[in-house]
């Protein structure tokens, strides 16, 4: 009898709490963001199938043509198809976005975890370094890094990682400080568990929600930093297309051929918007208390 009652109560708990994905996608903005991200991925993965031309196919007679049936988004000063270049450019943006954010996630999380878990002098030193890194203007630090080490995709990725790890370090440190005094963490210490186990098995899994949210918001930032560097001529070397470098080359022809700068700009805005909307929705779903 008692068991039956207990079972009923448990069933109720499960049924009245809607599934995480159901709650997430009840938000229309999340659906929009997810679709944009999905399309972006499809474009990047199947770029050779989607793009009608190669990204570096020069066709001088066709230069500076506006959008038409052959080049749907027009051509640039070398007659290269803008649409094809944007499609290939999405590969660079996503690559930089994900790899750079992945690197900064690992570095920032480890440093933040050490600072938050051990406190004291460890925290003092790590927090000091983090605050210095955080106080630099994002683009300035990245420009200095690429300018010093030269232009390449690898340097670009490290430059972006260099400016975004401090956000993770601060977030994880804060999470760990608040978790450190929770009773279940105290319990793990009394049960004789090692620091490594406590950090990775108990504290990190309980900090995942804000880390995931920060990641969805860091990726569009990384995409912007990448495009800004490319716009300034510090991104991947030509002829590899990046949204930033296409815009940069369009700057000179902004009056005669505005489509060169406009379309990659629109594409970037759309991508950033998609990630941001998805990230905001994810945050609201994972932690309703953070809602403004």
């Amino acid at each position: 009898m008692e068991d039956i009652i207990k079972e009923d109560i448990l069933e109720e708990v499960e049924s009245c709490e809607p599934n995480f994905w159901q709650r997430l996608f009840s938000n229309k903005m999340a659906v929009f963001g997810a679709i944009v991200i999905l399309i972006l991925f499809i474009i990047a993965i199947f770029a050779p199938l989607i793009a009608p031309y190669s990204f570096d196919a020069i066709d001088l007679p066709q230069m500076l043509k506006g959008p038409n049936t052959e080049n749907i988004l027009g051509t640039d000063e070398f007659g290269r198809d803008i649409f094809s270049r944007i499609v290939y450019g999405s590969r660079i943006s996503l690559k930089v976005g994900f790899i750079a954010v992945g690197i900064s996630l690992v570095i920032g999380t480890i440093l933040g975890a050490l600072a938050g878990y051990y406190g004291g002098i460890t925290d003092y030193i790590i927090s000091g370094i983090t605050d210095i890194a955080y106080s630099f203007p994002v683009s300035l630090l990245a420009i200095a890094f690429v300018a010093a080490l030269g232009r390449s995709l690898t340097n670009l990725i490290f430059a972006v990682a260099l400016v975004s790890w401090s956000g993770y370090a601060r977030l994880v440190r804060g999470q760990f400080i608040s978790l450190r005094n929770r009773e279940f963490i105290e319990a793990t210490k009394i049960l004789g568990m090692s620091d490594v186990r406590i950090i990775f098995k108990h504290m990190l899994p309980n900090s995942m929600a804000p880390i995931i949210v920060l990641t969805t918001l860091e990726i569009p930032k990384a995409i912007i930093v990448e495009s800004s560097l490319s716009f300034l001529g510090l991104g991947v070397p030509p002829p590899a297309p990046s949204w930033g470098s296409i815009m940069s080359s369009g700057r000179a022809y902004i009056m005669e051929a505005p489509w060169i700068a406009i379309f990659p700009g629109l594409m970037m805005a759309l991508a950033v918007l998609g990630f941001n909307l998805f990230g905001d929705a994810l945050r609201d779903t994972l932690d309703p208390r953070l809602k403004d």
């Binding site: 068991d3 109560i9 448990l10 708990v13 499960e14 929770r182 009773e183 279940f184 105290e186 319990a187 793990t188 210490k189 009394i190 049960l191 004789g192 568990m193 090692s194 186990r197 098995k201 108990h202 899994p205 309980n206």
Partner: protein
């Protein structure tokens, strides 16, 4: 077994209160200010007192979970406060803590089954199938069914969680368990279930308890001896029956008179304490209780009382004796 499993001698825990701008220790909160007690094997010592009197701090200090200023905590002949990390890990296997808040003391991202199994894994207790068997035994021991092993803490009621916390504490086969207000957060009907469970486990495994509570009626049921704390000091300690029949300290009398009686016609003379507990950062001079004591005399304001022995282990810190 004869002898004491735990001896606490003149334990002091002072928290520094830091100045806001200048990082200088301005004063200390004397959470625990020189307490001594012993606990014999398979005995239950109840520790009662109002909020902020240092009960929980005492429990944490005994486990060496916080910085202790002075004193000794001798567990089975070894001073815990002087142990290094490895020794401490071994000792911790014998000493466990059951928390007040069953909602905060379980990892919300782990199922009860994996929480229990992890404890066995960390202490190298058996291979995978042996651990699984042990987990089933543990969950059965605390009166939960095996179906609950795959569930997460948020799917449990308070009483069920507290049972899971008890199972986790038992996983390492401890000899001594500190129960830090284990039933304060639970319904009255569930409280008695948990207390009965703890009593049953004590009989089965010869456990020793330090049972911390703010409610004398809860402690009466389970304790063989009771210590009453006030403002960082143990003011009275006696056998459970002795304390309820012949309470000596005015504070204990006041606590006893606050227990509700199940008789609407019964009118007793209640001793009502006035005012709040003074700040432990600045305890009153002389007897700490004199500010609220109805018997306070001139000497109580000047001189700290020394422990008086009323016979049969009944100790009281009061100038009246």
């Amino acid at each position: 077994m004869i002898g004491n499993i735990l001896e606490v001698k003149d334990l002091k825990v002072h928290f520094p209160v830091k100045g806001e701008l200048i990082p200088k220790n301005v004063s200390y909160v004397k959470a625990v200010d020189g307490i001594s007690f012993n606990i014999g094997y398979a005995e239950t010592l109840g520790l009662v007192g109002e909020s902020g009197c240092g009960k929980s701090t005492t429990g944490r200090a005994v486990l060496n979970m916080m910085k202790v200023n002075s004193g000794q905590v001798i567990f089975e002949g070894r001073d815990i406060l002087k142990s290094n990390r490895n020794e401490l890990k071994k000792i911790r296997k014998d000493m466990q803590l059951i928390f007040q808040d069953p909602f905060g003391s379980l990892n919300p991202r782990m199922t009860i089954g994996s929480t229990l199994e992890e404890v066995l894994y960390v202490h190298h207790l058996g291979d995978k199938s042996q651990r699984q068997k042990k987990v089933n035994e543990l969950i059965d021991m605390v009166g939960l069914s095996k179906d609950y092993l795959s569930r997460y803490p948020h799917e449990f009621s308070g009483g069920q969680r507290q049972r899971a916390v008890i199972a986790r504490a038992l996983a390492v086969k401890p000899k001594f368990i500190i129960c830090d207000e284990p039933v304060s957060a639970l319904d009255v009907s569930i409280q008695s279930q948990i207390i009965n469970l703890l009593e049953g486990l004590q009989r089965s495994f010869n456990l020793t308890y330090l049972f911390i509570a703010h409610d004398l009626s809860v402690v009466k049921h389970i304790s063989s001896r009771i210590a009453v704390m006030y403002l960082g000091r143990i003011v009275e300690i006696a056998e459970s029956d002795e304390l309820f029949k012949r309470a000596a300290h005015p504070y204990t009398k006041a606590l006893l008179s606050s227990i509700p009686v199940c008789d609407p016609d019964f009118r007793k003379d209640r001793i009502l304490l006035e005012g709040d507990m003074p700040s432990p950062a600045n305890p009153p001079k002389g007897c700490r209780f004199h500010t609220r004591c109805i018997y306070a005399k001139e000497i109580c304001l000047r001189k700290e009382p020394v422990s008086a022995n009323l016979g049969n282990g009944h100790m009281v810190e009061c100038h009246l004796y």
